[in-house]
């Protein structure tokens, strides 16, 4: 596979120029730090700090119950692989308003940078295709980011974007860890819109 030249901190701002158009869920560790930085931890984002593997299912639940809204799940390679069957579940449910972005740094960044499967032989775009996700794409360089942003708009959903990034640090953001408070904040904001 081509070596990645992509700094993860540049990824989400290029993919989501108007993040407030979305309802967002972000998986634990770096995915949530990048998503929180992108949105200044807005109330249309629910960030996770545990329940590893639940980011895509939570996004799917939002997408199915709010079919008029665009929903994005931001997850990591470790989290996605922990519950990889959720790609098949998403493909079968086939929501027309749901995109998954997997930020893959090839390692378990939060626990010391131990090498993950995607640093060896695992190809997550092929796994998403095999699951039956309608549209898939891989991005691994800054030059491809414009096309990747179009990918999140143009082809039929559900979409899966495999973003292979350099193993550097995620965005600098200290977020609210209180999962029950964040639930109420998100729900109240959604109900008011």
């Amino acid at each position: 596979m081509t070596e990645s030249t992509l700094d993860r901190r540049e990824l989400l701002p290029k993919l989501f120029p108007n993040p407030a158009e979305y309802l967002m869920i972000s998986g634990l560790a770096g995915a949530s730090r990048d998503a929180a930085k992108l949105t200044s931890e807005a109330n249309y984002l629910y960030t996770m700090g545990g329940a590893m593997g639940a980011a895509v299912p939570i996004g799917l639940g939002m997408a199915l119950c709010a079919p008029d809204r665009k929903v994005a799940a931001i997850t990591g390679d470790g989290e996605l692989l922990m519950n990889i069957g959720c790609l098949a579940t998403t493909a079968t449910a086939a929501p027309k308003n749901f995109s998954i972005v997997c930020i893959d740094n090839g390692q378990h960044g939060e626990t010391g940078g131990q090498k993950g499967h995607t640093a060896e032989r695992t190809n997550l775009e092929i796994m998403a295709q095999g699951a039956g996700i309608a549209s898939t794409m891989t991005v691994c360089s800054p030059e491809e980011l414009e096309a990747a942003a179009r990918f999140l708009v143009e082809p039929p959903a559900p979409r899966f974007l495999w973003a292979r990034v350099l193993p550097g640090p995620p965005s600098d953001w200290t977020r609210n860890w209180h999962l029950a408070d964040c639930r109420v904040r998100f729900k109240d904001a959604f109900a008011r819109r």
Partner: protein, 173 residues
């Protein structure tokens, strides 16, 4: 797949859930929830989502709740063990998750593989903060379902409606 007539209790349970605002029925297939899922697939205002593993249903319920939706997760008792870590969303996040658990490994079970998880269901769910509403007889069903709906979607508790093998009948081998 052979399709038997929908038992009356399933019709009643489905109607109660729909009247309680449930629109999404996520499930891992089980003989005990098959008829309920068929109803969810056919009704105009509900949909059924096939899961790969039961814990996905916990996340989907949480996502539904964030946007004002109501979901139930239907599983066999063996799937309860798959859900444990994701039930952090109940105990820590106060997400109103509603499980419908069709039991194996209790009254009249003949398969020894079903006993370890079946016998641990209540302990596991209680450890993760869910309230248990057990159905052993047809008379229990309506009151237990009503109580579970109120506890979950009005009071915000995580709940499990447990349909026992005494109620469902044990699988013959």
């Amino acid at each position: 797949m052979t399709e038997s007539k929908t038992p009356q209790w399933v019709e009643k349970l489905f109607t109660q859930l729909v009247d309680g605002g449930v629109t999404l029925f996520t499930h891992v297939p089980d003989a005990g929830n098959a008829a309920l899922i068929r109803l969810a697939q056919r009704h105009n205002e509900t949909s059924a989502v096939l899961l790969s593993t039961e814990e996905e249903g916990i996340g989907i319920s949480a996502g539904a709740d964030l946007v004002g939706g109501r979901s139930v997760v239907c599983m066999q008792s063996s799937g309860v063990g798959n859900c444990i870590n994701h039930l952090s969303l109940v105990k820590g996040g106060r997400f109103p998750v509603f499980l419908i658990v069709t039991m194996r490994g209790d009254y009249g079970e003949q398969n020894p593989w079903q006993y370890p998880m079946g016998q641990a269901v209540d302990t596991v769910l209680e450890a993760m903060g869910l309230l248990i509403f057990r159905v052993d007889t047809e008379e229990d069903l309506e009151v237990a379902t009503n109580a579970a709906l109120l506890a979950c979607f009005k009071a915000g508790e995580g709940v499990a409606l447990i349909l026992s093998q005494r109620f469902l009948g044990a699988k013959a081998f």
